[in-house]
Amino acid sequence: MLGFAVLAGFAWLVLFGLFLSPNDQTQKTGVRILYIHVPSAWLAYLAFGVTGISSAFYLVKRTRSLVWDRIAGASAEVGVLFMGITLVSGSLWGRITWGTFWTWDSRLTTTAFLFVTYIGYLAVRDLGGTHQQRARRSAVLALLAVCEVPLVHFSVKWWRPLHQQESVADGELSGLMLFSLFVGLISFTLLYVWLVMHRQRVLALNDRADDRGLDAALLERRNEVVR
């Protein structure tokens, strides 16, 4: 059911983003990348935030459960995917508006670091060992890595910005564009929930398959001895 909601949300977004919302004065049609770029970035922040929170829940003894670890992992995977989409859509937009695919301003540089940091997080999850070892290692790493998110967001305020400042918070977007943007945010959030739900279920099945494999191997070994 959530899947249908996601599809409906995206249909709505396409309608508003591509057709109903107005062109920008200077950028004309090019501004429409906004409706993918900003929600993707928002989704990546959300995903990494959720990874941080789930990791914290895992580390606290009272709430320790591998479910939190799997949610953290699934969320990080989705986050990395959408951070990649943000960077690609952003560089395409930059080509149109600034004339260049990339520049080393504060927002882009810090975003690139965030992206690589979470790729590192995903690599650490694949290091091997028991599920608990994986969970503990990646939980600590996630808590360190999530500190980078505010850095990325506020980098436009603190350092040399070429990238747009906070237009939404400062109320600079006009009615229909702002509405389309919110449609985008909602659709992407629904997409995030759907993706993480399904991905964490796959991770749970993977873990269970690993455990079964281990049990089967142990049983074989024991049978060898008995015989």
Partner: protein
């Protein structure tokens, strides 16, 4: 046994191992010097080299840091030394501080050599007015790097694929130190028309980084090496 005593013992142990094996002096220092020479080959212009000298010094430091951290933890995992320390009931925070201290000492020596190499190879000139800033940068950046190196070294220690994982994990994290240390060193040396007063805000960044990773590392190191 209190944590500071443990830290001192671990640090002395690490430095003694290094002194007897001479890996730092025979392998890492030549590597770092070689990196500086390779930069000169690549950039092939005296003006460019002098302008970017601070950045190159810190970049060479980062690359050498990876090698030194690998070495520092290879020593521990070789005969299960780290496990033995834990079983003996030594507090992990103390191990962390001790290893960081030893790492910082080695890094500090390395950076001095690299600065000397820059003076010789890139015609860098030392300003009298910037010496205080230079020394402060040296201390602050080295401390931060040592804490991060020990923390991530512990994370990747004893895990398969650790050699390729460590650079991927560490370089994004030390990026703020690279930026801060380079800007502060530029200010101290007067490169690119920077004055020493421009450098002090960057020292703030370096100090914050060192404090965050020092505290975080002391708390998290135990759970990371607990396999």
């Amino acid at each position: 046994m209190n944590m500071w005593r443990i830290a001192r013992l671990v640090a002395v142990k690490d430095l003694r191992v290094e002194w007897r094996s001479r890996v730092m002096t025979n392998q890492v220092l030549p590597f770092a010097a070689l990196v500086m020479v390779m930069f000169a080959f690549a950039l092939d212009s005296d003006q460019v080299l002098t302008r970017v000298a601070p950045g190159l010094v810190w970049l060479a430091t980062m690359f050498s840091l990876l090698v030194i951290v690998q070495r520092s933890f290879a020593v521990e995992t070789a005969d299960g030394a780290l496990d033995a320390l834990q079983v003996a009931g030594v507090r992990p925070g103390g191990i962390f501080l001790g290893k960081s201290l030893a790492l910082a000492a080695q890094l500090a020596a390395l950076e001095l050599v690299l600065l000397a190499a820059a003076v010789v190879l890139y015609q860098t000139e030392l300003l009298a007015g910037g010496v205080v800033l230079l020394v402060t940068t040296w201390v602050a950046a080295t401390t931060g790097l040592a804490f991060v190196g020990t923390l991530y070294g512990g994370l990747a220690a004893g895990a398969k694929g650790r050699e390729t994982l460590l650079p991927l994990l560490m370089l994004p994290v030390v990026a703020p130190v690279l930026i801060g240390a380079t800007r502060a060193t530029e200010a101290a040396l007067g490169t690119n028309d920077a004055t020493p007063s421009d450098g002090w805000p960057w020292i703030g960044l370096l100090a914050l980084f060192a404090v965050v990773f020092g505290a975080g590392g002391t708390l998290a190191f135990g759970s990371l090496i607990d396999e």
